[in-house]
């Protein structure tokens, strides 16, 4: 119990940072895809992993995950602003993560294909394990509810099931794919219900409850680490902002938005923490700290040079060695 409270406190810090950072990115870049409202799902999913585990976060809100892996905030901010200090020299989309931190990079933006790439990282773990090389790394991958309808979802999950790969598939279900509401593309009872067809565990969790997400994912991670194969978890949350920063999202009902605003995952975590004895001052200081860190990063990074001809890398399509 105490342990869970301290996990929540730690997750809360990341969730706050996620919110503040996402807002700043959205302000800086009208084409940013804001994760506001989905912080509990994102942080809860990727919390408590080991550095040798591989993570493949969904394109919405991945920065906090990279930070949890040890990425440097200014370098990520550099990616949003198109500056030379980014991890990726401005080449892929800004939401691409640093592969050196065992992150599956977003090298393209067609949704779904990276699911089997993530499964391939898990295959690497299995491949070593099967040879007797000690390796109990796991892969955690998130993807959208819209993405779950791509053929690649099916192929990747089935492959992972058949090969019993150490991977956890987590659907970051925010109820929308751009302007389309979930019932336009999913009519089954849930996305997690698809798990049964692959012979793997499937579970729906409240995606606005960081602890619930953490519990479910950690159970699946343990299972994967033990060599018992993949799981599919669906975290049900809500996209509080537009599809991208400038999208006013007029296509969705106002009362729906209002309902989900009342379920804000940060409010929820704060209540839980208050109940566990955290005082207002300490909670407020977390937000202040996040705001200061993010503001400072943006300020510093704005001064840096934009990417240019050196970063274009005219000769770098191939590795030469």
């Amino acid at each position: 119990m105490r342990e869970r409270q301290s996990r929540l406190a730690e997750m809360y810090r990341w969730m706050v940072l996620c919110r503040v950072l996402e807002r700043a990115c959205a302000r800086a870049n009208p084409r940013w895809f804001p994760a506001e409202g989905e912080e509990a799902t994102i942080v809860g999913t990727f919390f408590g992993l080991r550095p040798d585990d591989v993570v493949a976060p969904h394109y919405r809100g991945p920065f906090v995950v990279y930070l949890m892996r040890g990425a440097e905030l200014p370098r990520l901010v550099g990616q949003v602003l198109g500056k030379v200090n980014g991890y990726t020299k401005g080449r892929p989309t800004p939401f691409c993560g640093p592969v050196a931190l065992n992150v599956v990079p977003w090298v393209a933006a067609d949704l779904g294909t990276s699911l089997s790439v993530a499964a391939g990282a898990a295959l690497g773990f299995s491949y070593q394990r099967e040879a007797g090389i000690p390796n109990d790394g796991v892969v955690v991958v998130t993807f959208g509810d819209g993405t779950a309808n791509r053929g690649d979802f099916h192929e990747a999950v089935n492959l992972a099931a058949v090969w019993k790969l150490p991977i956890v598939f987590v659907c970051q279900n925010n109820g929308y794919a751009i302007s389309l509401p979930l019932p336009t593309y999913v009519v089954g009872p849930s996305i997690a219900a698809r798990a049964a067809g692959y012979g793997i565990p499937g579970r729906v969790v409240d995606g606005n409850d960081a602890l619930a997400v953490d519990d479910a994912v950690q159970a699946a991670v343990c299972r994967a680490r033990a060599g018992d194969g993949p799981s599919l978890i669906e975290a049900q949350t809500y996209r509080l902002a537009g599809h991208w920063a400038e999208d006013a999202a007029t296509y969705r009902p106002a009362d729906e938005l209002a309902l989900w605003k009342r379920r804000d995952p940060l409010d929820r975590a704060r209540q839980q923490l208050r109940a566990a004895g955290h005082d207002e001052a300490s909670l407020a200081s977390i937000e202040d700290q996040a705001r200061r860190d993010v503001d400072r990063a943006f300020e510093t990074v704005r001064e840096l040079p934009d990417v240019g001809i050196a970063e274009l890398g005219a000769d770098e399509a191939f590795r030469r060695d």
């Binding site: 080449r91 892929p92 989309t93 949704l111 791509r150 990417v307 240019g308 274009l312």
Partner: protein, 323 residues
């Protein structure tokens, strides 16, 4: 009425849908949202959910389902939001849509339009230009207009054509170019290129946004007495070789330009067709202008360095002129 590139396309689709009850659309966010980059604006309001059908993110099934519907009597238009996603529907386009008429010995055909967005543009996302793959494929028509009225007229032709048509819309031109486009326009015969500017010194055969760059370059070089003829290829398959050869008989010099990667790009086919059929017309090498052999970068600053620009065109033109 003066219309932008995308407005001309949407107007053409609306008109064809009024004309032919069998025409309907499948895509994502094509309804209330009005389509990526306003690409279907107003259609949902007029035609409703039956004819403007939202689909799950399943590019392969969207095209496959359209092939099936087309084979059995309808005339669907599939909107693949961006050209970056064409690879996901590759088999449906290349091995299903394109094969049906031939493989059924003419017993069936597939009056299908697959429209998508290529090139750079205000959106700056999904900037792949994979058009070169498709003229290689028998049974497919491949259209790639650069001017609003052509775009509208070619969309009309695409919808009426009994064969599968890949309709490639340049994102840069989407809202940037505007011209007079009559309300009730005629379809443009598929398979014709267009001389958009006459000249005597050199022919620039271009597609998409490079047509606009070529026109700008023609203006710039005119002041030096270099007279550039600009051809908008418009139809990649079938290619209008006759218009090209006619032009070359006059200019004797050819530059081919597109935003896609130069190596293995559509420019290769244009160049090879000339090297095979009209070599005697040439007084200089055929120079191709295209993107360098690098994956397409995302950041605008890099994209601007990556994409071929007016300077690249001028270098190429000078090379063939000074040969």
């Amino acid at each position: 009425m003066r219309r932008t590139f995308v407005e001309a396309i949407v107007a053409a689709i609306a008109d064809e849908m009024r004309r032919d009850e069998r025409v309907f659309m499948i895509g994502q966010d094509i309804g209330v949202f009005g389509g990526a980059m306003s690409g279907t604006k107003g259609l949902y309001e007029e035609f409703g959910p039956r004819r403007i059908r939202e689909a799950p993110i399943s590019e392969s099934a969207m095209v496959g389902a359209a092939v099936g519907a087309a084979m059995f009597g309808q005339r669907p238009i599939v909107e693949v939001s961006f050209g970056e996603f064409l690879p996901l529907a590759m088999s449906q386009i290349v091995l299903q849509a394109a094969n049906v008429h031939y493989m059924t010995a003419g017993a069936a055909s597939v009056p299908l339009v697959v429209r998508t967005r290529l090139g750079d543009g205000p959106y700056h996302g999904h900037p792949q230009s994979f058009e070169a793959w498709f003229p290689h494929v028998p049974g497919l028509r491949v259209l790639m207009p650069s001017l609003p009225r052509d775009a509208g007229r070619l969309m009309r032709a695409a919808i009426r054509d009994p064969n599968p048509v890949l309709f490639l819309e340049n994102m840069q031109a989407y809202h940037a170019v505007r011209e007079e486009v009559p309300d009730e326009d005629d379809p443009l015969p598929i398979g014709t290129a267009r001389v958009v500017r006459e000249g005597r010194s050199v022919t620039v055969a271009a597609t998409g946004w490079m047509v606009h760059r070529a026109l700008a370059v023609a203006d710039r070089l005119a002041t030096e007495g270099v007279s550039v003829e600009v051809i908008d290829l418009r139809c990649l398959a079938p290619l209008d070789l006759a218009t090209l050869v006619t032009s070359l008989r006059k200019t004797s010099r050819l530059v081919v330009a597109h935003e896609a990667w130069k190596t293995g790009g559509f420019g290769a086919e244009v160049s090879a067709a000339i090297a095979e059929n009209a070599l005697d017309a040439l007084d200089a090498p055929i120079v191709r202008v295209g993107a360098p052999h690098l994956p397409v970068p995302s950041t605008k600053a890099l994209r601007d360095l990556f994409l071929p620009n007016e300077e690249d065109l001028i270098v190429a033109i000078r090379r063939v002129l000074n040969y």
